[in-house]
Amino acid sequence: MFLIYCPYCEEERAEEEFHASGEAHIVRPTDPESLSDEAWGDYVFFRKNPRGNHHELWQHTTGCRKFFYMTRDTATYEIKEIYKVGEQPKVATAPAVPNKYDQFSSEQAVKK
C-alpha cells in the first residue's frame, strides 16, 4: 500500500485515502468537432502504459478531494514526484516500450 504525500494537505497519508484516476495531462481538445474520428478516438480511448516513470492523476478522495499529479515508476512503484494541478512534471516519462506483438502483427499482415 502506497504512502502518498498530498500536496494540498501537506501530509503523507495511506493509499486508502486516495483514488487513482489514470493518465495525467490528457488535455481536452478545444474544438472537438474539428477532429477526425481517429484523432478524437485517440483522445477518448488511448492511454499510455509505460514500464517505468508514468505521469498519473490522483485524487485525495477521503481527504481534501483535490486532484493532483504523481510521477510514479510502474515497475518499482516508487513515487518520484508529486505536483499540483497547473504545474508541470520535472521527471520525464519512460520511453514507450515497443510492443513485441507489433512486429508479429505486421508479419501476419505480410503473410496475408
Binding site: M1, F2, E33, W40, K66, F67, A75, T76, V85
Partner: protein, 1011 residues
C-alpha cells in the same frame, strides 16, 4: 501416560523450554496424548513416538514430521474442539499444546493408518506422472467436478468451519522507525542496536518465544548459555518504551512503501476459544521507515530414495526437538550431510543417550572441530558416501548407503545396509528470502553458500543474519549489530558504535553442492525421491517435466505442482530448481527462482477482516425514515450501499400482490415513497449554468429560477452514465439530483472536470444527499393532501409540472419539486433529514382519508416502466447513447460549448445503422411476463446458434394495464415498431412479443400535467 521419546534424567537438555512440572493432555485423531507446557503438537507427538501424522496428497503414502518450524510440509492439521472453532492447515510444528486441544490429520480420510488413497497410491502410483490430473481428468471436462470432489476428500486439504466463528479479531495500525522481522540472534542484536539510539522499534517473531535458532542449538554467548543472553536482551527491550515486542506474530506480507502486515496469534497458543473479552488474532498494519529482515534460514533436506518414510527429518529439526523440547525422535540415528553444521545433530543425539549409527558425509573430509568431537564421542564418520534409499513401511527399518564419486553425481561402489529408525539429512541452508520478494525483489544466487539471498530492490530494507546467507554465529551477530545501527541512522538517529555478544569461532570445512543423491537405478526407475512432500513431487517428476519440454522453472512448477502447497515450497523449491537446472544443463541462477508472494504462512480470514464483520462487513446506508420502514414491515432491497424499502406487504400478501396493490393505490389515490437516497449535489457560483451546459447533453442557459429540468450525462465516449433532474434555485444556485447508485461517481465527475480542465469556472459543489430527505407523493389525490399541510400556493396554473417552490410543509422549511417518476401528478417534498420522520407521519395522518399507501422500489420500477422512463444501469449498459434511448429531445447540439460526449455522438460507430435501441415490448399472451435478460431473436425456428438481436432490460406485470409490459434493446428497434420478436427460454418454450413504444400508459402525459 509414558512418553517413550522424552529425554529424562542426566541426559535431559538443560536448555529445554518445556516445563515437565506441567503435563498437558490433548488429542490427535481422537486419541489422547500427554505432553508438557511448552511443547508444540509436533514435539508432543514425537515424544509419544507417533510416526505417521498424515497421508500424502497424491500417492497416499504415510508421512511423518520432517521439520520443526514454518517449513513443515507434512504435519498439517485440522484444529478445533467445536464446529465453530475449526481451523484448517495448522502446522503441528508451530502450534503449542494446551489442555484439551483437539486436532486431526487433514490428509488421511478415512484414517491415517489405513485408507483408500493409500491403496490407490500404491496401485496406481506409477501411473500418476506429473500433469496426471490435467491429462486424465480434464476430459471429459464434465466429470472433473466429480473427480475433484473425490480427490479432494481423499487427499484432504483441511476444511473451513460450518458454524459462525464466535471469536473477535482486530486490526491495528502501527508506525515504526525500524521493524525487525525475526527474533533470533540477528533480530535481537539488530533491535538492541536500533533501540539504543531512541528509534521506535518493533521486533516480531513467529514463535512463542524469542531466541530463534539459539533455542535449538547449544552455542555459548559471552561464555554463558545463550538463553542468558536472550533473557537479558529481551528484558532490556521490554523495558524500553520505544520498543514493541511481538511474539506469535508472523510478518506475513511485505507490501509497497514499507507497509508490512503482521499476523499475531494472541490466544491461539493457549485456548480453543478466546476467553471472554480477549482478541483471538490481531493484524498489525505497520508502516516502517526501515525494515531489517532477520528471517533466518530453512535447512534443505537431501533428496534420496524413499526419503518420505516417517523418520526422515531435517538435521536441524532433530536438534531442535532434542535441545528445545527434550524429545529425541528415535533410537538409532543415521545422519547424512554435505556440511559441518549438521554434525551437531549427531552430537545432540549422542548426548541424549541414544545411538548414532554413523555420520554419512558426502564430502571426502570435514572440519577439524567437528571431526574431533565425533571421534571423542566414538561416532563413526563415513566419507564420500550417501544414503541412496531408506527402507521401511510406516517407519524406517534400515538404509542403503553407497560410496559417491567426487562429483556427487554417480555411485562408485557397492551398497551397504545400516539399521536405523531415524535419518537426518542436511544439504545446507536456504535463507528465508520470501519477504524480500513480495514487492518485486528477485533473490541473487550466491555460489559460495549455495543459496539465494535478498537483492537490493527495496532501498529501505536490510537483510542480515542467516536470512542474508551469513551462517557463523560470530558473523551474524556482528553484521546484525551494524544493520540495527545503520537502519536507525537512516531514520535520523545517531548511532556511533555497535555492540554484540561474542560467540566461539569454529574451524569449518566448505560444504559440498549436492541436492539429489544418485541411485543405482536411473531416477525414473528408482524408488520415489521426494522433492515436495506436500504435493508429492518427485525428482523423477521434475526430470520428466523437463523432458516433456518445460524449460521455464515457472512452467515446471505449474506442471508438477512443485511448491504449490500450503508450505509454498519452503523445503522443496531450491532442490526442485537444482534438479531441473541439472536436467536442463543450466546453472541454478540461469534457471532462476519462482516468485514468492504474500502471505508467508496462511492467514485466517478472521485476521484479515478484523472487526469488519456482520453489519460492519460492508457499509449500510439508511435513510432518515429507516426505522419507520422497519416498523411498517418493509422488505428491503440493496441499492448501492443503501437499504431501500422494496415493498410493504400487508398480512399474507405475496410480493406480486403487494406491488399490484401499491401501483393501483398510486394510480387511483395517493402513494408515497421515500426517495431520500437520490443523490443530491448543491451547485453554486456565477459559472454554475455554464458548467451544467458542459456536463449535461441539454441546454441550461435559459432555465428560469424556480424551474426544473431533466438531464442526461454522457461520458466522453458519448454513452449515457447518469440522469436526473436539476433545478434552479437562484441564478447562481442549482440543485442536481442523480441516481441513488451513481451519486458518488457523478460528484467525482464534476470535480475532475472542474479541477483539471476548467478551473477558471467559478463554481462549487457539495454533496447534500444525507442532509435532505425526499418524500415523494404521487397520484390524483397528491395535491389535495399536500394542500392541507403547506403554505405554498399549489394552484396548478402557477405551480406547474417541472416547477420548484420553497415554503413550509408540516411546519418545517421545505423545497417542493413538482416532478414525476410515476407519470402521476407528483410532488417531491425535500426537508431537512432530521425533520423527515415528523413530516412523513403528518402526511400519513392527513393522508389516511385518501388511503395513502407507502410503496417501495419495486412499485416505483413498475410505475416508471408503464411510462417508459429509463433506469440508468438497468435499461442502459454503458453502450447506449441518448439517441439509442430515443431521447434525442434531451440533447442540444446547438449549444456553444461542445458538451462532454458530444463529439462521440457523431463517431462512425455511434451513427451506424442497426445499433441497439430502446423499445417497448408487449407479449402476445398478456399474462406472460418475460424474464429480464431474455435474449431476443427475429426467427424462432433458426438453428442454434441463433442470431440474437437484443435483450429484455425491464419486465413487469402492470396492474393498471392488466397486462405484462417490457422494455428491451433491439438492433434497429425504432424502425421495427409493430414487428414480432421471439424470446427462446431455457425450458424450451418461446415467448412471442410485439415491438411498441415504451410509453405504455398515458402517452400524452395528461396525468402528470393535470391542472
Amino acid at each position: 501416560m509414558s512418553q517413550p521419546n522424552r529425554i529424562q534424567g542426566n541426559n535431559a537438555s538443560a536448555q529445554s523450554r518445556v516445563d515437565v512440572s506441567k503435563p498437558i493432555t490433548f488429542s490427535f485423531n481422537n486419541k489422547p496424548y500427554t505432553g508438557y507446557a511448552g511443547d508444540t503438537i509436533a514435539s508432543a507427538l514425537l515424544a509419544n513416538d507417533v510416526d505417521v501424522v498424515g497421508r500424502s496428497f497424491k500417492y497416499g503414502r504415510p508421512r511423518g514430521i520432517v521439520a520443526a518450524g514454518a517449513e513443515e510440509p507434512n504435519a498439517i492439521l485440522q484444529l478445533g474442539k467445536t464446529e465453530a472453532t475449526q481451523v484448517p492447515n495448522i502446522r503441528a510444528t508451530q502450534q503449542l499444546i494446551y489442555e484439551g486441544l483437539e486436532c486431526h490429520s487433514t490428509n488421511g480420510w478415512p484414517s491415517t493408518e489405513r485408507d483408500v488413497m493409500g491403496v490407490v497410491g500404491k496401485l496406481f502410483g506409477r501411473f500418476m506422472p506429473p500433469g496426471f490430473y490435467y491429462k486424465t481428468f480434464m476430459a471429459p471436462s464434465k466429470l472433473w467436478m466429480t473427480y475433484e470432489k473425490m480427490i479432494r476428500k481423499g487427499a484432504g486439504l483441511g476444511r473451513s468451519p460450518k458454524a459462525v466463528d464466535p471469536d473477535t479479531y482486530e486490526t491495528i495500525n502501527q508506525h515504526a522507525d525500524v521493524l525487525v522481522v525475526g527474533g533470533g540472534p540477528a533480530g535481537i542484536t539488530a533491535a538492541l542496536n536500533a533501540a539504543r539510539t531512541g528509534a521506535r522499534v518493533i521486533l516480531a517473531d513467529e514463535q512463542n518465544e524469542f531466541g530463534g535458532n539459539l533455542l535449538s542449538q547449544t552455542d555459548l554467548l559471552d561464555g554463558a548459555p545463550a538463553q542468558d543472553w536472550i533473557d537479558n536482551s529481551i528484558d532490556e527491550l521490554a523495558t524500553a518504551d520505544n520498543v514493541t515486542l511481538l511474539i506469535n506474530a508472523t510478518v506475513n506480507g511485505y507490501h509497497d512503501h514499507n507497509f508490512l502486515t503482521i499476523h499475531e496469534r494472541c490466544t491461539d497458543q493457549s485456548f480453543d476459544l478466546a476467553p471472554e473479552g480477549e482478541i483471538r488474532q490481531r493484524m498489525h498494519r505497520v508502516r516502517a521507515k526501515q525494515v531489517i529482515l532477520a528471517t533466518g534460514a530453512h535447512e534443505r533436506p537431501l533428496v534420496f530414495g524413499n526419503n518420505d518414510i516417517p523418520g526422515c527429518m531435517l538435521a536441524s529439526a532433530v536438534s531442535t526437538y532434542i535441545n528445545r523440547y527434550n524429545v529425541v525422535p528415535g533410537k538409532k540415528l543415521l545422519l547424512m550431510t554435505s556440511n559441518d553444521n549438521a554434525y551437531n545433530t549427531a552430537f545432540d543425539w549422542h548426548n541424549s543417550g541414544r545411538l548414532v549409527r554413523a555420520i554419512i558425509d558426502t564430502r571426502p573430509a570435514a572440519g577439524k572441530t567437528v571431526v574431533k568431537k565425533a571421534t571423542d564421542a566414538g561416532i563413526e564418520i563415513i566419507y564420500s558416501s550417501a544414503i541412496v534409499q531408506a527402507q521401511g513401511n510406516t517407519c524406517i527399518s534400515n538404509a542403503m548407503v553407497a560410496p559417491l564419486d567426487e562429483t556427487g553425481e554417480k555411485l562408485s561402489g557397492s551398497v551397504k545396509q545400516y539399521d536405523c529408525d531415524t535419518i537426518a539429512t542436511s544439504s545446507g541452508w536456504n535463507p528465508a528470502v520470501h519477504l524480500s520478494c513480495h514487492t518485486g525483489g528477485r533473490p541473487t544466487w550466491r555460489e559460495d553458500i549455495q543459496g539465494f539471498v535478498p537483492d537490493n530492490f527495496n532501498k529501505n530494507m536490510i537483510a542480515t543474519g542467516a536470512g542474508n546467507g551469513l551462517y557463523p554465529l560470530t558473523e551474524i551477530l556482528q553484521d546484525a549489530a551494524s544493520a540495527g545501527a545503520f537502519a536507525a541512522n537512516a531514520c535520523g538517529f545517531n548511532a556511533t558504535k555497535t555492540s554484540y555478544a561474542k560467540a566461539a569461532v569454529e574451524d569449518v570445512a566448505p560444504s559440498m553442492p549436492i541436492f539429489h543423491i544418485p541411485h543405482f537405478k536411473p531416477t525414473s526407475r528408482a524408488p520415489k525421491q521426494f522433492v515436495d512432500f506436500q504435493l508429492d513431487v518427485t525428482a523423477a517428476g521434475i526430470e520428466l517435466a523437463v523432458q516433456e519440454g518445460f524449460e521455464s522453472i515457472e512452467h515446471v512448477k505449474r506442471y508438477t505442482a512443485l511448491g504449490f502447497g500450503t508450505d509454498q515450497g519452503k523445503l522443496s523449491n531450491i532442490n526442485g530448481m537444482a534438479i531441473a537446472a541439472k536436467k536442463l544443463g543450466k546453472t541454478i541462477p540461469e534457471t532462476g527462482t519462482t516468485v514468492f508472494r504474500p502471505n508467508y504462512t496462511p492467514v485466517t480470514f478472521g485476521a484479515i477482516s478484523g472487526r469488519n464483520v456482520n453489519e460492519f462487513f460492508d457499509i449500510e446506508r439508511y435513510s432518515a425514515l429507516h426505522t419507520w420502514h422497519v416498523e411498517n414491515g418493509a422488505e428491503f432491497e440493496d441499492v448501492g450501499q443503501w437499504k431501500r424499502p422494496w415493498y410493504f406487504p400487508k398480512g399474507e400478501e405475496s410480493m406480486h400482490e403487494a406491488v399490484n396493490r401499491e401501483c393501483l393505490a398510486t394510480r387511483n389515490g395517493v402513494g408515497i415513497i421515500d426517495a431520500s437516497t437520490l443523490g443530491k449535489i448543491d451547485i453554486q457560483g456565477p459559472d454554475a449554468r455554464e458548467f451544467l451546459n458542459r456536463v449535461y447533453t441539454n441546454a441550461w442557459s435559459k432555465l428560469p429560477v424556480g424551474r426544473c429540468r431533466y438531464g442526461l450525462m454522457c461520458g466522453e465516449d458519448g454513452m449515457v452514465f447518469d440522469d436526473g433532474v436539476t433545478s434552479c434555485i437562484s441564478d447562481n444556485h442549482f440543485i442536481m439530483t442523480t441516481t441513488s447508485g451513481g451519486a458518488a461517481h457523478v460528484f467525482n465527475w464534476l470535480e475532475i472536470w472542474h479541477q483539471t480542465e476548467w478551473p477558471e469556472l467559478e463554481v462549487y459543489f457539495n454533496s447534500v444527499t444525507d442532509q435532505w430527505a425526499t418524500l415523494s407523493i404521487s397520484g390524483p389525490k397528491a395535491r389535495l393532501l399536500l394542500g392541507e399541510l403547506t403554505d405554498i400556493d399549489l394552484n396548478p396554473d402557477t405551480f406547474k409540472f417541472m416547477d420548484l417552490r420553497e415554503g413550509v410543509v408540516a411546519g418545517v422549511p421545505a423545497r417542493v419539486f413538482r416532478i414525476s417518476f410515476t407519470g402521476e401528478q407528483s410532488y417531491e417534498i425535500n426537508v431537512q433529514a432530521n425533520y423527515a420522520l415528523a413530516v412523513w407521519e403528518k402526511l400519513f395522518e392527513h393522508g389516511a382519508k385518501y388511503d395513502i399507501t407507502p410503496y417501495g422500489t419495486e412499485t416505483m420500477h413498475v410505475l416508471r416502466a408503464e411510462k417508459g422512463f429509463i433506469i440508468v444501469g438497468q435499461d442502459t449498459d454503458g453502450s447506449m447513447t441518448p439517441y439509442d434511448l430515443d431521447m434525442g429531445w434531451a440533447v442540444s447540439p446547438a449549444k456553444e460549448f461542445s458538451f462532454l460526449g458530444k463529439r462521440s455522438l457523431a463517431r462512425e460507430d455511434t451513427v451506424k445503422e442497426n445499433r441497439k435501441q430502446l423499445v417497448g415490448l408487449k407479449t402476445t399472451d398478456a399474462k406472460t411476463v418475460a424474464p429480464e435478460g431474455s435474449q431476443i431473436v427475429l426467427d424462432p425456428n433458426q438453428k442454434i446458434p441463433m442470431t440474437m438481436v437484443g435483450h429484455v432490460t425491464s419486465s413487469y406485470y402492470s396492474a393498471v394495464l392488466e397486462r405484462s409490459i417490457a422494455m428491451a434493446v433491439i438492433k434497429g428497434g425504432l424502425d421495427k415498431m409493430g414487428d414480432k420478436v421471439y424470446m427462446p427460454q431455457a425450458d424450451g418454450t418461446t415467448i412471442e412479443a410485439e415491438i411498441c413504444s415504451p410509453v405504455f400508459y398515458d402517452p400524452k402525459g395528461e396525468r402528470q400535467n393535470v391542472k
